[in-house]
């Protein structure tokens, strides 16, 4: 019960602060789930993030897996509570905003807000790179695969799941 409330409060805060589609919340989520509450290890955190990227739907659905791990006796409740915390608050804001949107639509503040927040969000994404890297194996081969995947993402139309699965095949062969 205690853990369920912690999950709800933790992911609820991340939900409300999830500007930029939720790209910037990874460092804080790692601090909460790995360092403060110790629900998961750094390696698990990175692997759950990876699963979130691999499955359809929002990446932040991997909050469900953290909830799953946090409540080992009732994993489905943990997963559901974490998902509710992660998605309901931002969704409620979206619903409320649509009612107020008419006033906001032509406001000069709208582009100022979006563009003004962007540098902080991008900085947080760079920090997410370091956060995720803490749970990946070190070595020349993993670094090379990371670089190749980044390059292919920027230069080709290969989709995220294809690139992740291809990296997984390299891992089965060389990272056991």
């Amino acid at each position: 019960m205690h853990t369920a409330l912690h999950l709800l409060w933790t992911f609820g805060q991340l939900s409300v602060l999830g500007f930029g589609g939720g790209k910037g919340i990874i460092p804080q989520m790692h601090r909460d789930a790995v360092e403060n509450y110790r629900w998961v290890t750094s390696a698990q955190f990175t692997q759950f993030y990876t699963i979130g990227k691999l499955v359809p739907g929002p990446t932040t659905i991997f909050a469900a897996l953290i909830g799953y791990a946090a409540m080992p006796k009732t994993p489905l409740i943990g997963a559901t509570v974490a998902t509710v915390g992660m998605f309901v608050p931002s969704s409620a804001i979206m619903m409320a905003a649509d009612v107020a949107w008419d006033r906001f639509a032509n406001s000069p503040w709208r582009p100022i807000l979006a563009r003004g927040l962007a540098p902080a969000i991008v900085g947080l994404v760079w920090s997410s790179v370091l956060t995720i890297a803490r749970g990946t194996p070190a070595g020349i081969l993993p670094y090379a695969v990371t670089a190749v995947v980044a390059l292919l993402t920027l230069r080709t139309k290969l989709s995220a799941p294809v690139l992740i699965v291809a990296s997984g095949v390299v891992g089965i062969i060389a990272l056991r």
Partner: protein, 193 residues
């Protein structure tokens, strides 16, 4: 029930079930950018709303916190069927990904000790890191014409990574400076046409 009485009734009023099913189908089969196009096709072609309303919703979905696709689904559901429509869209867009990730999670906890699975997961994680690097590079490239933003971006990355600055504080301080910078720029541009 429409969202408000003075809102023009949409041309087509879908059932709540069909709202949920449309977003369930999109959220469980497509990835990333493709989803926006799928949603647009569904809601505009089926006549739930016109193109302008959709684009307005897309912008709102991107400005507000939360996954863009989920926010967009809620917007479309709400415009088509009011608050119940928004709830139907939320459930449709979030339950299938949750079930899929739970199946993946159950398999993970069962097999993650197997050396082949472990190797595969490590490889996948390295790939996911590459995607994140690409995303960071792409987003930084968008800011390249404004050195103040690049400094702000770098400072944010440093204080978050090295000094573990809390997310709320990051958004207030660096988001606040960014918004102020944009505001002053907009005012300068307005003053000198």
């Amino acid at each position: 029930m429409p969202a408000s009485d003075d809102a023009p009734a949409p041309a087509v009023r879908p059932t709540l079930l069909s709202v949920a099913l449309v977003f369930a189908a999109i959220s469980s089969t497509s990835f990333g950018g493709g989803q926006k196009a799928s949603i647009r096709q569904q809601v505009v072609k089926q006549g739930w709303m016109d193109k302008d309303a959709f684009l307005e919703g897309l912008e709102l979905a991107q400005v507000l916190p939360g996954p863009n696709i989920l926010n967009l689904a809620i917007f479309c559901g709400q415009r088509a069927r009011g608050v119940p429509g928004a709830i139907a869209a939320f459930l449709g867009a979030s339950i299938p990904p949750l079930l899929i990730v739970l199946i993946a999670g159950a398999l993970y906890f069962k097999y993650s000790e197997n050396p082949f699975v472990r190797g595969g997961l490590r490889g996948c994680a390295v790939g996911a890191l590459g995607l994140t690097v690409a995303n960071a590079l792409e987003l930084s490239w968008d800011e390249r014409n404004d050195w103040i933003k690049l400094v702000l971006l770098a400072l944010t990355a440093v204080v978050v990574s090295l000094f573990k600055m809390p997310l709320l504080l990051v958004l207030v301080v660096f988001g606040g400076i960014g918004i102020m910078h944009e505001y002053l720029r907009a005012r300068r541009e307005a003053a000198s046409p």
